[in-house]
């Protein structure tokens, strides 16, 4: 077994010092070493998107990154979305529009949407669906997720 490496991660603005094998993915590290289990694993090959988080503001698959690669970048996970007990507009809109059922894919969709809206606050319609096609949801049929993101985008613009 290869030796452990000390890595300092910045997660939701908080330093998280971990010692990990190089082969430990960022997703596993967030879940097991940082205690942030809101990032879920659904496929571990980059397709389902349940593990989507933000790195320096852009959405990435945390199952396809190793923790040793992630020193010095800003990591954001679902746990960082709400502040002072206030839901983020995306969380609020998913709640209002029934954009989740079992909720397993939800953190990945929230982070994907946050990253995409940061780049294009006006994302809507087919272009939005194309972005959301990055992630799989098995319960909702997607429409309520699309509606929720459009509504959140409107709230965030105003």
């Amino acid at each position: 077994m290869s030796s452990l490496r000390a890595v300092t991660l910045s997660v939701n603005g908080v330093e998280c010092k971990v010692e990990v094998e190089p082969r430990k993915t960022l997703a596993d590290t967030l879940r097991e070493d940082c205690g942030l289990t809101g990032t879920h694993l659904g496929c571990e090959h980059g397709v389902c998107g349940a593990c989507t988080i933000l790195i320096d503001g852009s959405p990435v698959r945390s199952c396809l990154l190793f923790a040793v690669q992630c020193e010095g970048v800003a990591i954001e996970t679902v746990e960082g979305l709400a502040s002072d007990g206030q839901l983020h507009p995306l969380q609020q809109a998913f709640w209002d529009h029934h954009g989740l059922q079992c909720g397993f894919c939800t953190p990945g969709f929230l982070m994907l949407a946050k990253g995409a809206l940061a780049e294009n606050p006006d994302l809507t319609g087919d272009a939005l669906r194309e972005v959301l096609s990055s992630n799989l949801c098995r319960c909702t049929g997607y429409q309520n997720i699309v509606t929720a993101v459009e509504d959140a985008a409107a709230r965030m613009r105003s």
Partner: protein, 771 residues
Amino acid sequence: MSLVGASIRRLEDPDLLTGRKRFIADLAAGCDAVAFVRSPVAAARIVGMERPNGASVFTANDLSGVGSIEPILYRPDYFRARQPLLALDRVNYLGEPIAAVIAPTRREAEDVADAVFVDLELVEPVVHSSGALTDHSPIVHQGAESNVVVSGVIDTGNVDVVSVSAVEQVELDLTCHRQSASPIETRGAVARYDMEAAKVTLYASTQMPHVLRTAICDLLNMQEADLRVVAPAVGGAFGQKMCLPAEYAVIVWLSRHLRRSLAWIEDRRENFTSSFHSRDHRYWIRGSFDGDARLVALEGDLVANVGAYSCYPVTWGVEPLMAMAELPGPYDFQSYRVRARGVSTNTCPMSPYRGVSRPVLTLAMERMMDIAAERFGLDPVEIRRRNLITQFPYRSTTGIVYDEGSYVASLEKAAEVVDFDSFRRRQAEARDDGRFLGIGFSVFSERTGYGTPAFAPRNMAVTPGYETVEMAMDPSGGVEVRIGASPHGQGLVTTLSQVVADELGLPLKSIRIVHGDTDRSPYGWGTFASRSMVISGGATKLAAGRLRDAIAAVAGDILEAAPEDIRLAEGRAVVRGTDRGVEISELARHAYHHTPKLASDREPGLRANASYDPAGTFSNACHVAIVEVDIETGGVRLDRFVVVEDAGLLINPVIVDGQIAGGVVQGIANALYEEVVYDEAGNILTTTLFDYLPPTASEIPPIEIHHLETITDASVTGAKGLGEGGTIGAPAAVINAVSDALRPLGVQVMEMPATPDRIRRLIREAIKETA
């Protein structure tokens, strides 16, 4: 103000939206990890095994005193296969667990599993049902006379007589390939060993915690009190988590044997190779129609590939026997001769998946109706109108009794919503431009809320069906509702709270629903088969009524009024027609702390239980798909999808629509995208989400949903089940629409998923024939 009927936001959501909610993998901290060594081939004898020195590896030989999974159906034509928890001397499908490995982390457990060498002597596998039925096929199970492991016939005895007078016969061969329910969360089990109590708590991603406990205790020869099963948040299931997985029992055995806490979190590859598959049906049917285009007789031969082992508790009879019993669907005819067979193969075991056989049998009936319509020169609406059931209760040709529904009304409403006539004009114009649009209808019934009266005719050793609810108001005035159902995304915490709140006149925040924990909830069957709102909801309403009576009795004592004059509303108990009242929370104090003030025969406390065990109730719906087929690529684009659903009273319309939309998308997936593929050697070729294709937001149109509400007395809440309807109706609507689009080419689609490759092949062959 009534909460039932209101689209309130779900109580479940805040924890899910913030990442606080715990799913199975979130409970593995501090446990050693388990990985399974699995068969790399479909069929082989196990000759030997070499394990790395010092590794913690357990095989069937280590599992002393452990039984095998042997689900029972009391039918003469049922073969009782025995499934060892770990393969003993033979493997019967690729992915079958052979050994369990324990290591501090999953990474290291996989390292060890990789280093275990299993010496296998290959034997000829049986993979597809067509091959399994041939005379020269190997037989999967020793002791079985053939690969037919369950079969049945329903014959009304009058088919030959009736069909003589038929003016048209429509005959078709249909194939529905194999699917995986593919919840985004895979399966998983965490066994925590409590040294002090010598008791294991099994956290498991499951739809049926109580039944799982019974099954594991039977296998491991344990008393149920020594095992607690808890279903944490479950990340989708759709049937894949309603049967007993061998792995869960192994984890419990290891935890007890080693007195350690262990976690097995299935990965996606395991989920594809080893977690229950579904569908894989081939049907032949022939319908006889009289001169008025009325279906008068139906014959069929239905074959379901049921995989390597029978699933507990519903058995491998569930797919073929349900297909046989429910094939008639919403159509009125009384002459029927159908044989159904379940065929065992060297493929992954099967479990019911949302809709079970009904997506396929609906496809068969609805394809037949469309083809018959063409023969008679009728449109698809008219032929269905002539054949749908209209009198209720209706007794089907297979003996099933349908409560009142709105079959014709849903069809007509759907035709109106999509403006069928103007679509036909648009379609004709598009064809002039070389574009191929099509419309497909699908009318179906969804039998829901199966209680034991519905399951009993199957003669299962385990007959599911009732639900029990225990309810208590505590001294603070809060109500705890303990249920046997085990929701995992259906929003049942919210909808049951709505029911209780209305019955007791309390705000939602006073109500707690407790589920998914065998030590905290009454014995129940869990959540599957569109049953929870009907059965658990019914029991909840009954229990809440009894609790209301108990509260009213205490109120009567305190307010010196007759209990029947007490009304509960807005947190207060008031005497009707007066302004005399008292806070319900104060009554709770009285019931516990001031019993001397109450009538002398009053039992202390406030609690009520109820069970509910209905015969079932039928939802119905009409789905309409409008598609465009790209005849050069075989690609299908869905332009529109309309649902007119009748699920009785809607407790929470937004949740209802969510269930329908999600179900429809799984049905669209069945029709166009998803297929588990085995090669002839029994190797599975779809072990990634690059190859097994759940559709994304870009493939799916908005689902337009309309409601009819036929109120039934077959359900005490007035609600009918609806969890599966979307999945049942959508495949036929889509496949009919694709066939309608390709009608100018003479193409009839009889296979699903209708992949672009398959559609192109049909078009190529059609063009070749005309040329």
